[in-house]
């Protein structure tokens, strides 16, 4: 069982720069065909300063930490048992290629169901840009399967 004293666990501060090449690669990976997400000229024509970060890519940027699963070790979570249960984004403003985004990530809940067969870990993430503006928030719910 995951110790509930880890509720409140804060991951190390993390800042990363959004790269055009990664956004294009991500667009390819999800089959994106809208040039706004791959062609800076099309993005500018649509009123954006550069390629926008698509809605789900904020989750991916958080995984660019040096040790993206380091917090699993700290909490005693075994990677092979983990499934992604739910994901919840709230958006405040767009982010673009070239932006520097800072992630503030903390565990806000740990609970179990089915007599402990399933454990749930909830982590909140707040993402701000280089101007200190809140860009987006997301809540990740992980499911840890036992047996």
């Amino acid at each position: 069982m995951i110790d509930h004293r880890h509720i409140g666990y804060v991951s190390p501060a993390f800042t990363t720069q959004v790269e055009r090449g990664r956004l294009k690669f991500f667009a390819k990976a999800i089959g994106e065909t809208d040039p706004v997400y791959t062609d800076p000229g099309a993005a500018r024509a649509a009123g954006h300063p550069d390629l926008p970060v698509p809605p789900t890519f904020f989750f991916c940027l958080e995984m660019d930490r040096p040790e993206p699963y380091g917090w699993f070790d700290d909490l005693g979570i075994e990677l092979p048992k983990v499934l992604h249960g739910a994901q919840d984004f709230r958006y405040h403003r767009l982010a673009y290629a070239g932006d520097e985004l800072t992630f503030d990530s903390r565990v806000t809940d740990i609970y179990d169901k089915k007599g402990g067969l399933l454990e749930f870990v909830v982590q909140d993430n707040r993402i701000s840009n280089q101007r200190g503006e809140l860009v987006a928030e997301f809540i990740r719910t992980l499911v840890i399967r036992h047996g």
């Binding site: 990664r22 690669f25 991500f26 390819k28 990976a29 999800i30 089959g31 994106e32 809208d34 649509a46 926008p52 698509p54 809605p55 789900t56 890519f57 989750f59 991916c60 940027l61 995984m63 660019d64 993206p68 699963y69 990677l79 092979p80 048992k81 983990v82 499934l83 992604h84 249960g85 739910a86 994901q87 919840d88 984004f89 709230r90 958006y91 767009l94």
Partner: protein, 144 residues
């Protein structure tokens, strides 16, 4: 699949269907590309040996790949600046060979916390057998 020539979400009534997005079958290449591009290098999605050891039989797709498809279902008609919130519950594993179709339905007109008029879209990703993989909602700001 032919792209719908136009869909105006700003006039979509509650109960109206959102144009579906049909994806090609998930291949191991799909998973490898998503692994690299997303930065989520969890071996469960690309390493068959690891997935077998974990008791899953074979690799499974990233839930976030399916959510990425659902995001495209929204943003091909909605400027991303109008997307206020987007959530998913991952209900079944997506496997190699699964062919995902994303569908949606406008379920409410409402106002957000700032009093902006919005529409709430229910989204669903199902496979070729009709199994629901992921369900979610998007909150989309309306002009005016």
């Amino acid at each position: 699949m032919a792209e719908p020539s136009a869909f105006d979400y700003t006039t979509a009534a509650v109960g109206s269907a959102w144009p579906a997005l049909s994806l090609p079958p998930v291949t191991r290449l799909t998973l490898a590309l998503y692994c690299g591009a997303s930065g989520d290098h969890n071996p469960l999605h690309v390493d068959q040996d690891f997935a077998r050891e974990a008791g899953l039989g074979d690799v499974i797709a990233h839930g976030m790949l399916v959510m990425g498809y659902m995001g495209r279902t929204v943003t091909r008609f909605v400027p991303q600046t109008a997307l206020l919130a987007f959530n998913s519950r991952f209900q079944a594993m997506t496997r190699v060979g699964d062919q995902i179709t994303c569908t949606g339905e406008v379920i409410a007109h409402e106002t957000d916390v700032n009093g902006r008029p919005c529409l709430r879209l229910a989204l669903r990703a199902t496979d070729q057998k009709g199994e629901v993989k992921t369900q979610g909602e998007a909150l989309i700001a309306l002009p005016g």
